[in-house]
């Protein structure tokens, strides 16, 4: 479970938390900023802002949080892989028949670093975020395969993620969307040399090739934050909403090539219809667990009640009195949350399409 303690704690009283919780749990949910449950905060996005990088992007959320991502690629000599060689030696005819089938990426070719102001590089939050973002990127091995030049050389891609403002809300969606945008804009010089020669590149930047060409369906992953209050599923939660969340999920998705057949133990319903595939799901420890509970009048000596040592009575939930959520999430609820992200015409598609439009401008 992801740490949430690194976030600044929202200073809300039990009464305020209870009010928020009740309004978010009602049908339809009433959000503090008047959005519908699947509406995102408005954002400003631009790509290709830094000429010194292979690809870069900046996203500014409505609440003022801002992130910049720069991707930089360097040519690196590949380590010889003896185990793989042997395999190729055995099935040489097959490998030749496959043509480019020998292209195989390695996870260490991608280096993601996250910088958050006021935090050290080895604090849990940046380390966790970079692990989560690289997990989504490396999930199906298709990304590292794009970095393959020939058997002796490969691209090493450094992705530097800078959060420029204080982490007001959980910064994961911001960082992920900015990374997505930067990777969409990333271009690598066109290769001029052939096969296993020392790589030679076209020095005309106009001739460079996109890492994710627009003609192909493969797109970089995006990680969305989804939360649930009772049975209501809410997208892109703000800081205040997270303070009363019962379940928080980070769902990583990417658009799938049509041939892809998802394999998953969990039944998430009608996934075949959508053009998205699920890469990773992580639960995130909701900050609401750290909030202080309210005390009902019955057991509050200050309001004429009598203090109780009866455990059950102290734990009992009462309408209008805030108790921090306990226990895990229901599997049905989690399945429903994932389904809502992946469904055709759902939030996931909307976000990916929106970001692609930024790159085109």
């Amino acid at each position: 479970m992801a740490p949430s303690s690194a976030l600044q704690q929202v200073l809300l009283s039990p009464a305020e938390l209870s009010y928020l919780h009740t309004s978010l749990a009602s049908t339809p949910p009433i959000r503090p900023d008047g959005r519908t449950s699947r509406q995102f905060r408005p954002l400003i996005a631009e790509s290709n802002i830094l000429p010194g990088t292979n690809g870069s992007a900046r996203i500014c959320f409505d609440d003022g949080t801002e992130a910049i991502v720069g991707a930089k690629a360097e040519v690196e000599k590949s380590r010889p892989v003896f185990a793989a060689r042997e395999e190729e030696g055995e099935g040489e005819e097959m490998a030749e028949g496959q043509g480019e089938g020998g292209e195989r990426g390695r996870n260490e070719w991608v280096d993601i670093s996250v910088e958050i102001p006021g935090m050290r590089d080895d604090d849990s939050m940046p380390v966790f975020l970079s692990a989560l973002l690289s997990e989504a990127l490396l999930a199906d091995g298709g990304f590292t395969r794009k970095l393959w030049i020939n058997r002796r050389f490969h691209w090493k891609l450094y992705i530097d993620i800078l959060l420029l403002s204080q982490p007001l809300s959980y910064p994961l969606p911001l960082l992920s969307l900015t990374t997505h945008l930067a990777l969409l804009a990333t271009r690598l010089p066109r290769l001029k040399s052939e096969k296993d020669e020392d790589p030679m590149f076209d020095d005309d930047w106009e001739a460079s090739v996109f890492l994710f060409p627009q003609s192909q369906t493969a797109k970089p992953p995006a990680t969305l934050l989804v939360m649930a209050v009772s049975s209501n599923i809410i997208f892109d939660p703000s800081k205040e909403e997270l303070a009363v969340a019962e379940v928080v999920l980070a769902v990583s998705i990417s658009s799938s090539p049509s041939s892809f057949t998802p394999e998953s133990e969990m039944d998430v319903g009608e996934r075949k219809g959508g053009s998205l595939k699920l890469l990773a799901v992580r639960t995130i420890d909701p900050p609401s667990r750290l909030t202080h509970p309210g005390v009902p009048n019955v057991v509050n000596t200050a309001t004429g009640g009598t203090a109780t040592d009866n455990m059950e009575m102290a734990m009992a939930r009462e309408e209008g009195v805030w108790k921090s959520p306990r226990g895990g999430a229901k599997r049905k609820l989690i399945a429903e949350m994932i389904r809502k992200v992946l469904e055709k015409g759902g939030v996931g598609e909307e976000v990916l399409d929106g970001l692609e439009a930024v790159g085109l401008e």
């Binding site: 609440d63 003022g64 801002e66 930089k72 102001p117 450094y158 403002s165």
Partner: protein, 254 residues
């Protein structure tokens, strides 16, 4: 790789086509980030810096530690992005050059801001360097000025900075050597240069940093060109600030 500066004397044009007294393209935006008290984005040529200002706010550490109870303390944090240079390089926070720049900027603004109005508080300037191509200290100083204005911290006048260099580093062609304004990254590697910042229109020098060796006779010319460049920078920053002020006024009349 040494830079070939010998071609300069042929056409009196620099590698990027500028004449000796021309600035690079300087663009600035103010109030770029909503969540910060003050923010700015400034680019001088290919050097791009984002600056955010927090404060004046209460001192977080024990007041005895900072040692100043009667005025605000200016602290500066500079972070250089890994992708800023030609090659990707991560710089740690303990880099000595960065540390020296932080001190230079903090001292300059400590003297120019009206810090006595904010006792027991701190003003934090954080600078994010996105792209690096010479005149780094000058760009950081200009960006900080804009962000501090945006944050509404009272100050005596703008601190504007540029760099100035000299075309030749050996003494034989002393007469022909030209001073140059606003050096880019490759010129900085090759030529002696200084960073100068002035406060206000009266040519009052508030920062002067020089790390390379140069003949004493050339220093005056370099300084004069630098101070003149600061004036040009001040005009550009002034336009940006006034445009922003006008927008705020128009907004408040509605």
């Amino acid at each position: 790789m040494p830079l070939d500066t010998s071609t300069y004397s042929l056409a009196l044009l620099r590698l990027d086509g500028r004449r000796w007294n021309e600035l690079r393209r300087l663009t600035a935006q103010i109030s770029t980030q909503a969540s910060a008290d003050g923010s700015s984005f400034l680019s001088m040529g290919n050097t791009k810096v984002i600056c955010t200002v927090t404060g004046p706010s209460e001192v977080k550490a024990a007041p005895g530690a900072s040692g100043r109870g009667d005025e605000a303390v200016v602290s500066v944090e500079i972070s250089v992005a890994g992708f800023s240079g030609v090659e990707r390089k991560r710089r740690g926070k303990g880099d000595k050059r960065i540390y020296e720049m932080q001190t230079t900027i903090a001292t300059a603004f400590q003297a120019t801001l009206f810090t006595h109005l904010y006792p027991r508080s701190t003003i934090t300037i954080s600078l994010h360097i996105l792209s690096l191509d010479g005149s780094l200290l000058a760009t950081c100083l200009n960006a900080s000025t804009l962000a501090l204005i945006d944050a509404g911290v009272p100050m005596r006048d703008y601190i504007c900075a540029t760099t100035a260099g000299s075309t030749s580093s050996y003494s034989s062609n002393d007469e022909k050597a030209d001073p140059l304004l606003d050096l880019n990254g490759s010129e900085e590697l090759e030529l002696p240069f200084l960073t100068v910042a002035t406060c206000g229109t009266e040519d009052e020098v508030s920062v002067l940093v020089m790390e390379t060796r140069v003949q004493v006779g050339r220093l005056e010319g370099m300084l004069a060109v630098g101070v003149d460049g600061c004036k040009q920078v001040r005009d550009i920053l002034d336009v940006v600030v006034r445009a922003r002020g006008k927008r705020i006024l128009e907004g408040s009349q509605l």
